[in-house]
Amino acid sequence: MVEVHLDPDVLSGLQEVMEGEYPKLLDTFLDDSQKRVEALRKARDDAKALALIAHSFKGSSGNLGAVRLAHLCQRLEVESVEAAADLGALVDQIDHEFALVKPLYESERQRFQL
């Protein structure tokens, strides 16, 4: 599966829309996502909780152009209602994907030193 980790067009669109608020949006996303990833790890065995966190995480990562991360969150949200699914493996994948995109956002953030 060929999938983009970070869509640069989305970021340039956001920069245009947010103007001066853009760095703050990146900060918020990084901080928020960190919390979501930790929450997913804690809720590993609670399908219902996983679905809710995944739903929310999917929305924000989609908005910020983390295409693959959003896709994985969506899978987790959908599969959390299926009894036989291996949700733990999905959580690990999300964890891994966030670890991968996090430096990309941080370097984007570096461009705007306050």
Binding site: V10, L14, V17, M18, E19, E21, K24, L25, T28, F29, D31, D32, S33, L52, H55, S56, F57, K58, G59, S60, G62, N63, L64, G65
Partner: protein
């Protein structure tokens, strides 16, 4: 309209979203678009903020902690009441159940993630248009409701005022009148008036103005005033009709008029005089034979023709005691069934034919109408008057204008009414007014007017016009008599009626003698006075009535001159 078009008026937009990233993104976009933003991170906060700040539009995430977006939407819609507060759900929900749940909760639209600022602006504008539309509709609905209340209030006031005028007559007091009319008939343009003349005759008017509502009611007031004022003063139908027609012609717009039937029922003379302009056929019901004579509309309604062109010709029909006159409005005949078939005159005739108990005629007609169309309309008016004996003569109260301090007691006056005047002028109301200056006579005003009216019409019809009273023996002759009367009067170019009034004080009070002379051939007084009472009443000259009512009656000059006297005691 472009999505980026500047907003007309900044809105306050509430955003409920638990993801801090999305909340920041969305609120920045919306603020950039010129709106004021309120933010909440769960349903409970959203509902609280809504109650406090009353934003005009809500962007709501579906899944949130504490209280989800569905429940929050339901509560916000409830708080908003009738006003439209659009709720746009922020969701990329794929399953149709979830979308249905959003709609069920009161959601008006959806916005999928990732957000597109252009689509968001377009949706906000579209929702704002809907919101304004709803606000306008509500505003107009309230305005209409307010106007409706005003209208009802005005109608109540108008009706109260009108009832005071309308009820100054005898419509509810007279024992021989039955009528059926909706309480709001006035606003259908229907009008029913009745009053006694000074001689104790009864005038009845059933009218129907064009149109509905207040426009139909405005003409009723002046019409009622003319009717009551002139009836009380002793004017006959033709003068009253001319005055009503002229007044309505003057005050009503061209396309408004009043269909009317006007009656004068005289127990003393056992006749009914009728003018019908535009009302459906009424009937004289001869109880002894069961015969119903139609009272046909011969004229244009009131308020159409100029005074010059107006036709005041009336018809006169004999009546026995117990006979009835029936009038109705077109609401009866125009009652329609489900197929727009009209009830019509023929079905009414069938009800007449089937009617066994005359007192139940109205009920029979109402039942027939109800059976025909399912219900009786509110513009159905009917009136029935029975000719009854012993209607007392009314004192004409409103005529006295002075304080009683100045009462002339010793005077005389003479008039000569010649052909041109006799044709179109009725001097009786004027004479009565004059004689009622004598306070002592006021008690007897009814008798005085009756005697004057009898003697004047004798002088005019038998004297000047030379009509033979024996014509009036039967109904046909009766009609012929009144036809002749009108024709001869029209052609009249000579002749006179003279009226002499002498008032003198006596030891105990006063005496008024009234002499009436005519230019006719005279008559055999002895022979006429010898006739039995009943013959006299219908085909005679009403002389027994005159003798009954006045102190003294004398004829002279071969029946061409008659003198009556009225005496009174001095007032204490």
């Amino acid at each position: 309209m472009s999505a980026l078009a500047p907003v007309l008026e900044p809105l306050t937009v509430l955003i409920a979203e638990d993801s801090a990233t999305d909340l920041l993104l969305l609120s920045t976009i919306i603020r950039r678009q010129g709106h004021h933003v309120l933010t909440a991170s769960n349903g409970v906060e959203a509902v609280d903020l809504f109650a406090r700040e009353r934003p005009q539009l809500v962007l709501m995430d579906a899944l949130m902690p504490v209280m989800d977006g569905f429940e929050a939407a339901r509560r916000i819609k409830q708080l908003a009441g009738e006003a439209l507060v659009p709720i746009i759900f922020l969701t990329s929900l794929r399953q149709s159940e979830a979308l249905a749940e959003c709609l069920d909760a009161g959601g008006d639209d959806f916005l999928p993630k990732p957000y597109n600022p252009l689509i968001l602006a377009a949706k906000i504008n579209a929702m704002d248009r809907l919101r304004r539309l709803q606000a306008t509709v509500l505003q107009q609905r309230d305005l209409i409701a307010k106007h409706h209340d005003y209208l009802l209030h005005e109608q109540r006031v108008a009706k109260a005022v009108f009832d005071k005028v309308a009820h100054s007559g005898c419509i509810n007091a007279a024992p021989n009148i039955r009528y059926l009319q909706s309480p709001y008939a006035l606003f259908n343009g229907d009008l029913l008036l009745a009053a006694y003349t000074p001689a104790g005759d009864m005038h009845v008017l059933l009218g129907d103005f064009t149109g509905h509502g207040l426009p139909a009611a405005v003409g009723a007031m002046p019409l009622a005033e003319v009717f009551y004022g002139m009836t009380a003063k002793g004017y006959g139908l033709t003068q009253i009709l001319r005055e009503m027609n002229a007044k309505l012609k003057r005050i009503l717009p061209v396309d408004m008029f009043c269909c009317a039937a006007l009656l004068c029922l005289s127990t003393q003379r056992r006749v009914v005089e009728v003018w019908n302009g535009g009302m459906p056929d009424g009937y004289v019901h001869e109880v002894a034979t069961g015969k119903r004579t139609p009272l046909v509309s011969r004229h244009l309604p009131l308020g159409v023709l100029s005074a010059q062109a107006f036709e005041d010709r009336t018809e006169v029909w004999p009546m026995a005691l117990g006979d009835r006159v029936f009038l109705l409005s077109d609401g009866v005949l125009d009652t329609a069934d489900a197929n727009e078939q009209l009830f019509g005159a023929e079905r009414l005739q069938q009800v007449f034919a089937a009617n066994r108990e005359p007192d139940c005629l109205f009920e029979d007609i109402e039942q027939a109408l109800a059976a025909f169309c399912g219900e009786v309309r509110d513009d159905v008016s009917m009136v029935e008057i029975t000719l009854q004996a012993g209607q007392s003569m009314r004192a004409t109260g409103p005529l006295y204008a002075d304080s009683g301090q100045s009462c002339p007691l010793d005077w005389s006056v003479g008039f000569e009414f010649r052909a041109e005047t006799l044709k179109r002028y009725n001097p009786l109301p004027y004479l009565l007014q004059l004689l009622l200056e004598i306070h002592g006579l006021r008690e007897q005003s009814g008798a005085l007017y009756s005697v004057m009216a009898e003697l004047y019409s004798n002088a005019l019809e038998h004297g000047v016009l030379g009509l033979d009273s024996r014509l009036k023996r039967d109904a046909e002759g009766f009609a012929q008599y009144y036809r002749e009367r009108n024709e001869r009067l029209m052609r009249l170019n000579s002749g006179y009626v003279r009226v002499q009034v002498q008032v003198a004080p006596t030891v105990t009070g006063g005496r008024m003698s009234l002499r009436i002379e005519d230019s006719g051939p005279g008559f055999d007084v002895e022979q006429v006075l010898a006739r039995p009472l009943d013959v006299d009443r219908l085909s005679g000259r009403g002389l027994s009535l005159v003798r009954q009512l006045s102190s003294d009656v004398r004829w002279s000059d071969g029946g061409r001159s008659v003198c009556v006297e009225f005496c009174w005691e001095a007032l204490a």
